[in-house]
């Protein structure tokens, strides 16, 4: 693995190499497609496992991760890159890699829908995948408040309680040590069996 990384380093400027939990290399946005092509054609990483994104809202950027697999040598390599995070309704942009693997198309559609990252030129990238005609902030962005949205949209059933799991376990297991005991389970089962249940 070290030899492969050395080889890559000779040809591409890498920002970071990390081997804490599997191997991950980081490169600049403009090098990603050429590096992916290189890895696929000469490096033997012929299998794309997935493409995913992480929203680093504090640093104002998205992290894209391409996970690759080399079936011959049975090794895996992650390629990371950081792209600028735009404020919705502007979309961030990334080059499309759909010409390398057919499956990339679907991942890019998903990223476009869930994170608002656009991949110009990728086929069907504008079609709805899971959310049909979503008109809010893309739901996987961290500035989207799912709880608030759900409460406003989906008629929450009243009578639903929730507890902090750590506090609740403490109060149940060690009731004498200050944890306030709550009658949460009984209340829930009473309410949720519902007035309609005969």
């Amino acid at each position: 693995m070290e030899r492969i990384i050395e080889n890559i380093k000779k040809q591409f400027p890498l920002q970071d190499v990390n081997s804490d939990h599997g191997w991950f290399i980081t490169c600049e946005k403009k090098d990603v497609i050429s590096l992916l092509t290189h890895l696929k054609i000469t490096g033997g990483f012929t299998h794309l496992i997935l493409i995913t994104a992480v929203d680093w809202i504090e640093e104002d950027r998205f992290q894209l991760t391409y996970l690759l697999n080399n079936p011959q040598l049975k090794i895996r390599l992650g390629l990371r890159t950081f792209i600028e995070r735009s404020v919705w309704p502007d979309e961030s942009e990334m080059q499309s890699a759909h010409h390398l693997w057919p499956a990339v198309k679907t991942y890019q559609r998903e990223l476009h829908e869930m994170f608002g990252i656009d991949f110009p030129g990728s086929p069907e990238v504008n079609d709805p995948l899971i959310l049909e005609y979503w008109d809010d902030i893309p739901p996987y962005r961290r500035d989207f408040d799912t709880k608030k949205y759900s409460e406003e949209t989906y008629f929450p059933r009243e009578g639903r309680g929730s507890n902090d799991p750590a506090e609740y376990m403490k109060s149940q297991l060690y009731p004498n040590e200050g944890g306030k005991s709550q009658d949460f389970p009984q209340e829930i089962s009473k309410k949720s069996s519902g007035e309609k249940n005969a």
């Binding site: 959310l131 049909e132 709880k147 008629f155 059933r157 949720s192 309609k196």
Partner: protein
Amino acid sequence: MAKMNYKKRFSDLEKRMVTSPDGEEFEVDPMKDYFSDARPKVHPPSKITPLENFMNWCRAESIYILGFGTGCGAIEMRPLMSPMYDAFRFGIHWRPTPRQSTVFVIGGYASVKTIKRIVRSYEQMQGPKWVIGLCSCTINGGMYWDSYNTVNRLDHYIPVDVYITGCMPRPEALLDGFTVLKKRIKEGRGEGSNEYAENFDWYKANQKKIIKSWDMPDYNW
């Protein structure tokens, strides 16, 4: 986000003139051939009580299920068909299409995308029809209660007769749910389809609030 044009995609479903092999010209409207979009009507139960009781007994003893298995809880429906639980001895059968079924079993959470299909399937079923909400997710959202895409209360979109709690419920609980449903039907309280017809506007408003890609007729059967 750019919107996809559904019409363009299904252009062969549009209204058009067709010439038959013998030269006759006639109009074809494929979307109208398969359904009627008239509003649902209320069918009040028969005034002759013994007759109605007999009818309800018949209905309760021959339950034809349409399973909607997009949630994890739907996996509990399969053991019922096996010899171990053998739901057939209760007069419960599984059918493949909405047209042939009387009981709609929603197995687990419903997302916005699936609620659209649920509504369509429900409307295509013949009345009288009943709905069983399987799993906690249909009751109050279950563990997906604060999700961006999962509906919390199924009974705001279609009328539900019986809820079965649990995440997930055992097959025995499901059998018990059917027993409760049978009791309800025999007592003449399973009036879901009439309820739907009476509160049609309320149900439609709720459905339209969340289904943004409303590209179907308001009611179809």
